[in-house]
């Protein structure tokens, strides 16, 4: 029961943070609500017995990406929300599209009987040791390729940040 309560609490927190990202008038508030959502999702990962993912999620998202967003918001000094509002019919159409997408997804999940055989939960999956073994044994190639991806991203970011013309 305690687990159920935590699950619902974290879900409500994540959904509230997500909605407030859109509804807040200042971009800095949106960034802070996004951080709240990321922490709630990290809590969900712990509930799913994925401890390694939870820690990595908190470090990468709440630690690095949010800091990047905060730097950019403060660098660009965006606190004045002085845009002329979008036409109301456009906003209404987008919200209706989003709600219909949500209804479609809910309908898919309601009408589908999950007949997966309930295996006894292997409690070792989320641990760092097991994930590390599988990562280095079966998924070695994507691991190395992702290092090349990071290298490319770093080179791109530095090139984009240079002041003088190349």
């Amino acid at each position: 029961m305690f687990t159920n309560f935590i699950f619902y609490f974290l879900s409500v927190l994540a959904l509230y943070g997500g909605v407030m990202v859109l509804l807040s008038k200042k971009p800095i508030h949106s960034v802070l609500y996004l951080t709240l959502t990321f922490f709630a999702i990290g809590g969900h990962y712990i509930l799913l017995n994925a401890q390694f993912l939870a820690i990595v999620h908190i470090i990468v998202y709440a630690g690095a990406i949010m800091v990047l967003f905060l730097f950019t918001v403060m660098l660009l000094n965006l606190n004045k929300d002085d845009r002329s509002p979008k036409p109301l019919w456009l906003k209404a159409a987008a919200i209706i599209a989003g709600i219909m997408l949500g209804l479609i997804l809910i309908g898919v999940f309601r009408g589908y009987d999950l007949h997966l055989t309930q295996h006894p939960m292997k409690s070792q999956i989320g641990l760092v040791k097991e994930l590390g073994k599988i990562l280095y044994r079966d998924y070695m190639l994507p691991f190395e390729v992702s290092s090349v991806l990071f290298l490319t991203a770093m080179i791109g970011a530095v090139l984009l940040g240079k002041k003088e013309q190349i």
């Binding site: 994540a14 959904l15 997500g18 909605v19 990202v21 859109l22 971009p27 949106s30 996004l34 959502t37 990321f38 999702i41 969900h44 990962y45 799913l48 017995n49 994925a50 390694f52 993912l53 990595v56 999620h57 990468v60 998202y61 990406i65 990047l68 967003f69 950019t72 660098l75 660009l76 965006l78 845009r83 979008k86 906003k91 987008a94 919200i95 599209a97 989003g98 709600i99 997408l101 949500g102 997804l105 997966l116 295996h119 939960m121 999956i125 989320g126 097991e130 994930l131 599988i134 990562l135 998924y139 994507p142 992702s146 991806l149 990071f150 991203a153 791109g156 970011a157 984009l160 940040g161």
Partner: protein, 88 residues
Amino acid sequence: MLFCIGVTGVLIKRNALVILMSIELMINSINLLLAAFSAYSNDPAGQIFVFFIMVVAAAEVAIGLAIIVLIYKTTHSIDIDVLNKLKW
């Protein structure tokens, strides 16, 4: 659910930063779904995939923010209704 909120955010907002944040929200909702399925079917492949998705998302956020900063330096506005010069 979070995915729908992210999609609505991408469609409504004019501030390019908030659009990027809505994309991050969508990616996170997919991560959560994958991790849930991985826990349900005792398959560690889901968690490995989430790991790689996080890698790609982090790289994409870095590059996206660099592009936004550059756009701001040249045009001093990150309102996408002003920045629609790629259209005809």
